[in-house]
Symmetry: C2
Subunit: 80 residues, 2 copies
């Protein structure tokens, strides 16, 4: 069972990486950008047929390693 995890910085956390991307795009001539925030993306394939169990496991992975819960939010979605 395959899931995607999107990790984003919380609203009030500064995102210097996104800021650099924004500035670079402005320098490339794109002029109507309001904001860019960068995050992380994972595609996780687990060997589990029960969706509830699988999601619980993905949650565990996020909390143990993938996500810094102090500054980041995450969203899990099933891909297939």
């Amino acid at each position: 069972m395959k899931f995607s995890v999107i990790v984003t910085l919380k609203k009030d956390v500064l995102d210097p990486q996104g800021k650099v991307v924004l500035n670079t795009l402005v320098n490339l001539g794109i002029d109507n950008l309001k904001s860019i925030r960068q995050g992380k993306y994972f595609e996780i394939d687990v060997d589990e047929v029960d969706q509830v169990k699988a999601e619980k496991q993905i949650n565990q992975m996020c909390e143990k390693l993938l996500v810094n819960l102090i500054i980041e939010n995450y969203k899990i979605s099933k891909i297939k």
Copy 2:
């Protein structure tokens, strides 16, 4: 108008970063993982009301800067 862009490595491209995450999770005691691939995620807010125009612009940003089309795929979705 706000869009999300998910950038992933193409299927046959090796993902050493994902491999490290996988190994670390295995070491943390998670035993039924099949694979993890890591990608990039962007939330882009453009000052444009026409969705077609906005998407065209996001496409341009992807091709100019955000995505390496040789080894990566990308997917644009409207958030709001």
